[in-house]
């Protein structure tokens, strides 16, 4: 069964996707499944091992189950400072 989630992209992922956020309809069960689905679709260069996921504005594990209405963000390696 499909669910609809908000996905935010940052930095290199935002540029590779060509937008900062979008509503995505997916049947992915976990955050990792969703990232792999989107990575295939948009040819993201970063493997999930180099990316972190945030669920509803908090860091989460890749195995987090996703539900309709969730907001996910995919975070490339950070480089503040």
């Amino acid at each position: 069964m499909k669910k609809t989630v908000l996905v935010r992209y940052f930095a290199i992922l935002r540029e590779q996707r060509g937008l900062g956020e979008e509503q995505v309809s997916t049947s992915a069960a976990t955050a990792r499944d969703l990232y792999e689905e989107l990575r295939g679709l948009h040819r993201f260069t970063l493997p999930s091992g180099n990316v972190r996921v945030a669920l509803n504005d908090e860091f989460g594990p890749w195995e987090s189950e996703i539900r309709s209405g969730d907001a996910l963000a995919f975070l490339p390696p950070v480089a503040g400072g």
């Binding site: 930095a11 504005d57 490339p76 950070v78 400072g81």
Partner: protein
């Protein structure tokens, strides 16, 4: 104790006066600036992009951790976002404490953790017209860039 993201120029003097405390014998500040070279390439400008809600939370957590680990009187960190040019202040950390060891250790802890954990990204613009997101080469290590 204050963590702040800002899209306008960081002004240390005003920020420091908020930390004034006659109990403080020591104040250590760290300034991170846009430098002209990175890994041998000439840098003209850079952009910082932040995931603001989570960057704010993570920044505040880091300051809380530093305050819990080290005996400090005041602690602050400000990080720029947006476009910066050479010499601009990118990040500023200040810690006051009674004795100097704590101010050194806490300020080092804050900048190390901010660089490693806060969701902020840096895109460098080079003199040859090319650009690059730091740490985001597909096969490169995921660790933070130095300094």
């Amino acid at each position: 104790m204050k963590f702040e993201l800002t899209s306008s120029e960081i002004t240390p003097t005003a920020l420091l006066s908020a930390l004034d405390d006659t109990a403080a014998g020591a104040c250590v500040t760290f300034e991170g600036r846009v430098r002209s070279q990175n890994e041998g390439r000439a840098v003209l400008a850079l952009e910082y992009e932040a995931y603001a809600p989570l960057a704010q939370k993570e920044g505040e957590r880091i300051l809380s951790e530093a305050a819990a680990r080290f005996s400090v009187l005041g602690i602050a960190c400000v990080h720029r976002t947006g476009r910066l040019v050479l010499g601009d202040l990118a990040v500023w950390v200040a810690v006051t404490s009674k004795h100097r060891a704590e101010a050194f250790e806490a300020s080092r802890y804050v900048i190390d953790q901010v660089k490693a954990r806060v969701p902020i990204w840096k895109k460098e613009h080079y003199s040859d017209g090319s650009t690059g997101w730091i740490n985001c080469a597909p096969s490169g290590p995921a660790g933070p860039a130095p300094a």
